[in-house]
């Protein structure tokens, strides 16, 4: 039965996350925007295991008579909902909650049971991007070579979210650059391993509470079984490793889209508060009878709602085991662009107050920009959607 309302089972979770946002994140939002590289110690009160346990809950299966027995609202749905609420609080701080990063997502998705035992509780960041390799992650140059029982890593990684604060880095490197994507593998490197060095923390437009690191690997040796997936570099191996890690993004893209709708909602809520009695949203009134500022608010609400529903759909498909690569990208494309547009418009609508550091609107407008960029830019999402829709290979539609 078609129903786009959320079941009660998520209410406790979203309320909890909203409370964390209101009571823990918002009060320190401006502080860590200013103190860019300080570790937000206040986040220690967020029990990482508790939050994770609340976020990942067993699937609920629909038992009503006319529902397909397989309908589930599970981990993917609860994950996007909690991310949305946390990012209503603060995107940068949310990214700074230990264990919430992409590295952990990759480990959860690909690790063997033995590896999960070793790395399951770590705080792992993900190191993919290089100075000369951004969206085309198939072109990376960091190398890994086997020397006896150890992998030896060399190369430079940039834009590593939480790279300074994490205790573990999942790093992508190629076993043989001539063999293309099939030779790209990911490796788990604990902090403190000789040869791995955090050399720089970036100064950014937004999400300043979250650290973004440059990490240098120089003759960095790790045990042979720290590779995620197989070491096979044949075509089959490509699907095995690179494809699998890329699939991590199918799972995390709705999450980034959820960040965007959380941040945009924060901007909308604050805007409505600042505008106060000067606007009145009356959905019984014709849009042409609304003031121009109200008309703009209606449009933003509509775009916001459409983006949110695309996120929920992608999560619902994931919970029900349906392939959702295209839908995940659709949700990120729409949420990324409307989230950015909404936060920017909210600053505009509130004038000097919106532009001022006395409120958080200008910060939301800076934070939102990255959400249309990381884990696949707007244009990469369009590319994924277009290739799927038009049945194009990456050599046809470049």
């Amino acid at each position: 039965m078609i129903n786009l309302e959320l079941p009660e089972r998520f209410e406790g979770l979203t309320q909890l996350m909203r409370a964390v946002s209101t009571n823990v994140l918002r009060p320190i939002s401006r502080k860590y925007d200013k103190q860019e590289h300080d570790v937000p110690v206040e986040l220690k009160v967020i029990d990482r295991r508790g939050t994770a346990a609340a976020a990942v809950r067993p699937d609920a299966t629909d038992k009503s008579p006319d529902a397909k027995p397989r309908n589930k609202n599970g981990a993917a749905m609860s994950s996007v909902l909690s991310i949305e609420q946390m990012c209503w609080g603060d995107v940068g701080l949310m990214l700074s909650v230990p264990g919430a990063g992409l590295g952990n997502a990759a480990i959860n998705a690909v690790a063997t049971p033995e590896q999960k035992e070793r790395f399951g509780n770590c705080y792992a960041s993900m190191a993919i991007t290089e100075p000369a390799s951004g969206s085309d992650s198939g072109s990376i140059s960091a190398t890994a070579r086997l020397d006896g029982d150890e992998w030896v890593l060399d190369g430079e990684k940039i834009f590593v979210t939480a790279g300074g604060r994490c205790d573990t880095v999942v790093v992508w490197a190629t076993l043989d650059k001539r063999k293309g994507k099939s030779a790209i593998k990911s490796f788990v490197v604990p902090k403190g391993t000789p040869g791995m060095e955090v050399v720089k923390l970036e100064h950014k437009l937004g999400i300043r509470a979250s650290d973004t690191a440059t990490i240098l690997f120089t003759n960095c040796r790790i045990p042979k079984d720290n590779i995620l997936g197989s070491a096979d570099v044949s075509e089959g191996g490509k699907r095995e490793a690179f494809g699998k890690v890329m699939q991590t993004f199918d799972n995390t893209r709705p999450g980034v889209a959820a960040m965007s709708i959380g941040c945009a909602r924060a901007a909308l809520d604050l805007t409505l508060e600042l505008l106060g009695d000067s606007v009145k949203l009356d959905y019984a009134k014709s849009q042409w009878e609304a003031s121009s500022i109200e008309a703009e608010l209606y449009r933003m609400e509509a775009d916001w709602e459409a983006a949110r529903l695309l996120v929920l759909r992608a999560a619902w498909m994931a919970d029900n085991g349906e392939p959702n690569s295209m839908e995940a990208s659709m949700s990120k494309a729409k949420a990324g662009r409307v989230g950015n547009a909404i936060t920017l418009r909210c600053v505009e609508l509130c004038g000097s107050v919106g532009y001022s550091e006395e409120t958080l609107l200008e910060k939301f407008a800076r934070d939102s920009k990255i959400l249309d960029i990381f884990e696949g830019t707007q244009q990469i999402q369009q590319l994924i959607v277009a290739r799927r829709l038009l049945n194009k290979s990456s050599s046809e539609l470049k």
Partner: protein, 371 residues
């Protein structure tokens, strides 16, 4: 007994909805697409078409058993899906085919039990019996909250004066539901026939929706018996009608938008320029990706509004937002559809110009298709 818990998020159709969807989609492909252009040129639709559409059985599903229906519960979701799938075939023919159902839905929602029997009975007989809503009034800046059509009391009857535009079956309908301002009492809806004394209708021509042969209907001192005032002594809920029609509009735009998407996918993949398919270029491919993304967003907004209506949850905001995206994104899809075909899109050989003209109506129609 504990309260029944809220259902899970779900995008799965019921078996009945899936069966209906399959037949309507087939009907849209085989019975609507091939004739859409012809009827657009003729600015007319033969009654045969509507009679054939009735074989799908949609009018009877939610009619009470006493009236020869199946007595299924009112289902805005099923009606919304029906509207989307018909519009995939052709928006004008969809409105024509669903016009009587909109009348039925409104009478079921707001008519007294006696009225339901009396007003709907003629529509349940064999054959096609057109009925329509008549809400919009001529002139720029029409506002449904400030109706110029007036009803006054005359003994126990009512007298109507005014003008309505964009009325489907304006001269042939067996039932028209005219919405008017009842003096001193607010909006009210009256069932009239084009044959009633004082009712005249004249064909109008619009940019699109031509197969509908829309009319302007003039009411000049039309006498309406008390029994034909919908809801009798109960006030008419105009907002509910407007909200349900917003969902109808959004479903129409979704269906037409899907038609555009499916057409440009094939056309642009086949179209060669500079030695390769134009879809090998990002500027073309990304436009198509954006059509798909905005279309799915619109579809989900529409589904949400309908599902809230079905569960008797407040749905005013959701219907409003769906209508807003339908008007904005629907027209954007329409204009991009023509753009993607270049000069060929401007030629009437291709349907994209027809969809473009029809999609312009989404922002204008009010009180058209009620789900």
């Amino acid at each position: 007994m504990t309260e029944p818990s809220k259902p899970l998020f779900d995008l799965t159709l019921t078996d009945e909805q899936r069966l209906m969807r399959d037949s309507v989609r087939k009907f849209a492909q085989t019975e609507m697409r091939p004739v859409a252009r012809k009827y657009d040129e003729a600015a007319e639709t033969p009654v045969d078409f509507y009679t054939k559409s009735l074989d799908l059985g949609f009018n009877a599903v939610q009619l009470p058993e006493e009236l020869g229906g199946f007595g299924a519960a009112r289902s805005p979701i099923s009606n919304m899906l029906l509207t989307e799938d018909f519009a995939y075939g052709d928006m004008s023919l969809a409105i024509g085919a669903l016009s009587s159902l909109s009348f039925i839905n409104t009478v079921l929602d707001q008519g007294s039990p006696a009225q339901q029997a009396a007003l709907l009975e003629p529509l349940t007989r064999d054959g096609f019996h057109p009925a329509a809503l008549a809400l919009t009034e001529p002139g720029a800046r029409f506002n449904p909250k400030q109706l110029k059509t007036r009803a006054t009391r005359s003994g126990s009857d009512y007298v109507l004066h005014g003008e309505k535009t964009l009325v489907p079956f304006g001269s042939t309908a067996e039932r028209l539901l005219v919405v008017a301002e009842l003096e001193g009492e607010g909006p009210a809806a009256f069932v009239v026939s084009p044959k009633d004394k004082g009712v005249s209708s004249a064909r109008e021509s619009f940019m699109g929706l031509r197969p509908l042969a829309l009319s302007r209907v003039t009411l000049d001192g039309v006498n309406v018996p008390k029994a034909h005032k919908l809801g009798e002594d109960k006030p008419f809920d105009l907002d509910r009608l407007l909200d349900l029609c917003k969902i109808g509009n959004a479903a129409l735009a979704t269906g037409v938008g899907q038609a555009v998407l499916d057409y440009v996918r094939v056309y642009c993949n086949d179209r060669i320029a500079f030695g390769e398919p134009i879809t090998n270029r990002q500027s073309v491919a990304f436009m198509i990706a954006d059509i798909a993304i905005e279309l799915d967003g619109l579809r989900l907004l529409t589904y949400r509004a309908a599902s809230r209506a079905e569960q008797n949850l407040p749905f005013r905001r959701e219907a409003y937002l769906a209508q807003l995206q339908a008007a904005d994104k629907g027209m954007k899809i329409g204009t991009d559809g023509v753009q993607l075909l270049g000069g060929h899109g401007f030629i009437r050989e291709h349907s994209v110009e027809l969809w473009y003209r029809n999609l312009r109506a989404i922002a204008i129609l009010q009180g058209c298709i009620s789900v």
